[in-house]
Structure formats: structure tokens, C-alpha cells
């Protein structure tokens, strides 16, 4: 049975303001209370997590993540109300879009694709 993977990316100019990886990071920051712990939980370097947060904060009208004063790797961070709202809207939209795949075109593709590929020719 073929599996459909749906990726929703919101662009802001040439940068990706919101997508699956950034949504996961927001969720992890909300749960972990810091950017570094969220990055670790996702197997991501602190630098990479920080860059994703910076991109989101520059792309949205209001910042999605607020870093607590203190600085350094141990500084805490949390989602702003706008961050909570953006994450919730992105998750809800993903579910909506996923459910919108039902129908004959999806079924045609699903039945035409093998469960596993045959070996390389």
C-alpha cells in the first residue's frame, strides 16, 4: 500500500516561514522550554534550531518564539501567543488538507503503486 506524504510550506519571499520541520520545532520548544533542549529532542544542532527560530521570527509579522533573558545555550524560550496560534493553524490545516486527498484520483494512484519497489533493473 502506497503511503502519501503531504508537505505544506509557507514561503515568505525565498524563505520558508512555516513547514513540517518548523512546526515540529515550535512544538518541541513549547514542551521543552528552551531552544537548545528542543533541538536536542529533535536531533538538531543548537545552531540549526536557532536559525529556524530566527527565520520564523523574521518571516512572521510578530515573533513566534520569545527567548528569555540570560543568553547562552541554557536560556529558556517559549512560544508567544502568535506562536501558539500559528502552530495550531498549521496543524489544523495539515489535517484538513490530508482529509481532502480522498477520492478517485488518490485511489487510482494508490492501487497502481506497489507496497515495495521491485529490485533495481
Amino acid at each position: 500500500m502506497a503511503r502519501l506524504k503531504l508537505k505544506l510550506q509557507f514561503y515568505c519571499g525565498d524563505e520558508i516561514a512555516m513547514g513540517p520541520g518548523k512546526a515540529d520545532l515550535l512544538e518541541a520548544i513549547a514542551g521543552e522550554g528552551s531552544i537548545s533542549a528542543a533541538g536536542r529532542a529533535l536531533g538538531m544542532s543548537y545552531r540549526r534550531a536557532w536559525l529556524l527560530v530566527d527565520t520564523m521570527n523574521r518571516c512572521f509579522v510578530r515573533p513566534l518564539v520569545e527567548a528569555h533573558p540570560g543568553g547562552g545555550k541554557s536560556a529558556g524560550a517559549k512560544l508567544t501567543p502568535e506562536g501558539e496560534a500559528a502552530l495550531a493553524a498549521y496543524r489544523a490545516l495539515s489535517v484538513q488538507v490530508q482529509s481532502g486527498t480522498a477520492g478517485p484520483d488518490f485511489e487510482k494512484l494508490e492501487v497502481a503503486i506497489r507496497g515495495e519497489p521491485i529490485s533495481q533493473s
Copy 2:
């Protein structure tokens, strides 16, 4: 204004049986009549185009592309009826899914994202 990019990928085991790049390649093969010309039209090496075709042919129950006898870079190729059907279903599903993004969650994200990111902090 934020732009939403939607990517639909059908997996077959760990391989991608169908996605945006493979659909574009099928379309180019149908138009150009050969894998090498289709690859060139998309700025893709012959090797890469051939590998994408091979993956599709191994992932689908019936091959999507049929290479004409002759071999070599100049050999012709065309879509099988199953290739035409898979391409049409994928394009139709993409349009369907795109139209399924309308609603309050999409609008919330769209208004919250800038047209261009502000400069790096």
C-alpha cells in the same frame, strides 16, 4: 503575501514512487519523446532522469515509461497508458488538494506572514 507550496509524495517502501519532480519528468518525456531530451529540458542529467524513470517503473505495478529499442542516449521513450493515467491522476489530485486549503486556518497563517522577511538579527 505568503505563498503556500504543497508537495504530494507517494512512497513505495522507502522510495518515492511519485512526486512533483517525477510528474514533471513524465510530462517532459511525453512532450520530448526521449528520456535524455526530457532531462535536458528540465536541466537534469541523463543519469538522474534515467534513475527517476527506473524508480517509477520499479514502484508501480506496471511501468510508466517505455523506452524504445535502440539503447544509448538517443533512444526514444514514451509514456505507457499507465504512465498517462498516473500523471493525470497526480495532477488532478494536486489541484484538488490545493483547493482544499481554503478556510480560516489558511487565512490565519497567510495574514500572519510577511511578504518578505525582515533582515537577519
